[in-house]
């Protein structure tokens, strides 16, 4: 698969307005709609907490996109950097100053020390009672590790697969190290017993969620600035033809070191925010498998485009969470299927689909119908979820919503738009916990919602190939007349 920057088409006025509106819509959704729905109890705390955690993954994905999508370096130790940030934060959180749940019978220090026969807090742990120290360390440690490692590896001009293999070895080594009790970091059990309010109380959950979204937006702007600067072009240049840079007096090693360290900082930041929302961190999250998992997010989202990486992280994690709760055994097949579908039909990932959609918008296709349909469906589900359902007969809302949605969607007749809207709607509804009970009725073990999803997606697929079918039919009915 050739590494290709998606072609940028002319930014016409329609597209510019559309992009502006989309950005605004997304921001309003994350900063206003979700907090308010949570406030009114229409979204459960667990769902906001989950979204907060997945947004931490989106932060990691941004870094991976800079490193892999732009610079072409496939690192398999990003999960390690995520954990380095995470552990530093976890150390603070497991101490009483950070709200850690310590008990007098265990000498008022994290419990695992007791089982390692340590009675007093080791000196290097005591510094972590300060939040600012912990935060500084959480960023500094990944930075230092990444720069030292990157410096040695890139200086010896290690490239391509060899780079990936070395990063993999580092991740493996670190995993073994963190599993050891002598490290005094909780061994295989990791660090836990933080203040449970962090991932249970609405106030705390919303607080961490909002901090995560804000950090994500800031880092996105940072990454966007980098990718738009001349340094961003140098990153792409390294991916395209590293050798040529040498003869232009640039130092590709330094450029790669920059990308690697930046990605590590992004990953570490994600880890810091993840830990309080997750309530535990163990060495299991830094395995090579987890780093590969992170690569998959970016691959499915579409590498080389920053928002694609973020969307990919959310999408893949929700897909995982939804299927494992509905049909636990099917996940490996679904994962494989998704990967195949991307490789075969959407080589540029979600971004490719979006680009096709944008091209339609640029050529004047109206998308208000699809958006309106989503809004109608969303409102109907909220009515169902809220107590207003007592006053409005549920089945009536559902019926009206279904009819309106179908009408609006079919009227737009825009296959890529329908696919995107369906995916967004499905995952949005699941993420907010608004899926109605009716959809859980199963037939041969598969819930109803999947049948509907399948029918819509296949329908859109057929729609997008109608031209092709028509041609094929015409050929069939009108035999060649040349001879």
């Amino acid at each position: 698969m050739k590494n290709q920057e998606p072609m940028t088409f002319d930014e016409n006025e329609l597209l510019r307005v559309f992009r502006k509106k989309t950005t605004l819509g997304v921001l309003v959704f994350f900063f206003v709609v979700i907090p308010f729905l949570g406030w009114f109890g229409l979204i459960d705390v667990t769902n906001i907490n989950k979204l907060g955690r997945y947004l931490c993954f989106a932060i990691v994905a941004l870094g991976i996109d800079l490193l892999w999508g732009y610079t072409g370096l496939l690192s398999l130790c990003q999960a390690l950097f995520f954990c380095l940030g995470g552990y530093a934060m976890a150390m603070h959180l497991s101490l009483p100053e950070g709200g850690g749940n310590v008990r007098p019978e265990y000498h008022n220090i994290p419990q695992f020390f007791f089982f390692n026969n340590v009675d007093t807090l080791p000196g290097w742990w005591t510094h972590f009672s300060s939040l600012s120290f912990a935060l500084v360390m959480a960023i500094l440690i990944p930075t230092i590790v990444a720069s030292l490692f990157g410096f040695t590896v890139f200086r010896s001009r290690v490239k391509g697969v060899y780079f990936s293999i070395i990063t993999q070895a580092v991740a493996w080594g670190a995993f073994l190290l963190f599993c050891r009790n002598e490290m005094l970091l909780g061994g295989t059990n990791g660090l836990t017993n933080f203040d449970p309010a962090f991932h249970r109380d609405f106030g705390w959950v919303l607080f961490f969620y909002l901090i995560t979204v804000s950090t994500l937006v800031l880092l996105f702007l940072g990454a966007k600035y980098i990718s738009g600067s001349r340094l961003g072009r140098l990153l792409v240049a390294v991916r395209d033809k590293e050798m040529l840079l040498n003869f232009m007096a640039y130092r590709p090693q330094s450029i790669k070191l920059f990308a690697f360290t930046t990605a590590a900082i992004f990953a570490g930041t994600g880890g810091v925010l993840y830990v309080p929302q997750n309530g535990i961190i163990t060495p299991n999250i830094m395995r090579v498998e987890d780093s590969i998992w992170m690569i998959i997010w970016v691959a499915l989202g579409g590498r080389g485009r920053l928002w694609g990486a973020m969307a990919g992280a959310l999408l893949v994690n929700y897909a995982y969470s939804i299927t494992t709760s509905d049909m636990p055994k099917t996940w490996p097949f679904l994962e494989g299927g998704m990967f195949m579908a991307v490789v075969l039909f959407f080589p540029s990932g979600l971004v490719g689909l979006w680009d096709r959609f944008e091209q339609n918008v640029a050529s004047g296709t109206r998308v208000s119908g699809i958006l309106l349909a989503m809004a109608v469906g969303f409102t109907a589900l909220l009515v169902d979820k809220s107590n207003w359902g007592l006053y409005v007969p549920y089945h009536l809302t559902a019926l009206i919503a279904c009819v309106t949605m179908s009408f609006l969607v079919i009227r737009s007749l825009n296959p890529s738009g329908i696919v995107l809207a369906t995916i967004t709607f499905f995952f949005g509804v699941e993420a907010l916990g608004l899926m109605p009970e009716t959809m859980r009725i199963t037939w041969i073990g598969v819930p109803l919602k999947y049948y509907i999803l399948f029918i819509i997606l296949v329908g859109a697929g057929v729609l997008s190939h109608i031209g092709v079918f028509r041609q094929a039919l015409r050929k069939y009915y009108e035999p060649a007349t040349e001879h």
């Binding site: 290709q4 920057e5 001349r230 240049a237 395209d240 050798m243 003869f247 232009m248 640039y250």
Partner: protein, 261 residues
């Protein structure tokens, strides 16, 4: 690797200082095969020198040695009076040696403009590139060069969508824009039409006298247009040097070309 002391390989200082590029007893061996075996080769400051020779004569290898891509098996090479045996490719490029590769090499997913932008002779370290933008002066220079090579309308096009001839020109434009002291130009006219070849020759002739230029070319019409001193190579060795019409009379040169094709 230290070299055995050899009286004949001690290079007189006046030779080093009067040549922009100077090679002495330069040998490159690939798997026991001598790709380059030059007793002495020098190009004066601000000279335009053309190198010709049949396929596999070692012309590209000579460029590789001067630009630090390949290191000598034995011998000496000086650029601007400095011994570059120990220097890496980046250092040599930093000394003002630029090259255009035989297969036109550019950054495929960057646009024509972005390619040119990276070629500008300015900050090469990482961080300044985070905020530096091209100045108006530099923009004008880029536009001027691109207009000459008829790429002005393609500035927003990714290099991977350019035709072969356009890639040749983009690579050459990037080299010219970088203003190196020494230009190594490997087959700039390969795959160009006659008209395009003519423009390329004009561009190189304009640089003559301000930069040292080494041009490798097979196209005799192009070589004739450049109207310069020519070095003929064959089987890694320098076969003859002189003006093109003199070389036409040289039996050895004619034989080297005929013997091959």
């Amino acid at each position: 690797m230290s070299q055995p002391l050899n009286i004949s390989s001690i290079v007189p200082i006046d030779k080093i200082s009067s040549y922009q590029v100077y090679l002495k007893d330069a040998v490159v061996v690939f798997d026991g095969f001598k790709a380059l075996d030059i007793e002495e080769f020098g190009v004066y400051y601000n000279e335009l020198r053309v190198i010709i020779g049949p396929n596999g004569a070692g012309k590209t290898t000579l460029c590789d040695v001067i630009s630090g891509k390949t290191s000598l098996t034995s011998g000496r090479v000086y650029v601007g009076g400095l011994d570059i045996i120990q220097a890496g490719d980046v250092e040599i490029a930093g000394m003002g040696v630029g090259r255009k590769f035989q297969t036109p090499t550019v950054f495929d997913s960057l646009t024509v403009w972005e390619n040119m932008d990276l070629a500008l002779p300015r900050a090469k370290s990482v961080f300044p590139n985070l905020w530096l933008k091209e100045t108006n002066e530099e923009k004008k220079r880029i536009t001027a060069i691109l207009e000459r090579v008829r790429l002005a309308d393609e500035i927003g096009v990714q290099a991977q969508y350019l035709s072969h001839g356009q890639r040749q020109w983009l690579a050459l434009s990037m080299l010219i824009l970088a203003e190196p002291k020494l230009l190594l130009v490997d087959e700039p006219a390969a795959g160009l039409t006659d008209k395009e070849t003519e423009i390329t020759a004009e561009l190189l002739l304009e640089l003559k006298g301000q930069h040292t230029i080494i041009v490798i070319e097979h196209d005799m019409e192009f070589v004739r247009r450049l109207n310069s001193y020519v070095t003929v190579m064959n089987e890694g060795k320098l076969l003859a040097e002189g003006r093109l019409d003199e070389l036409r009379q040289n039996d050895e040169v004619v034989k080297a070309y005929l013997g091959r094709s």
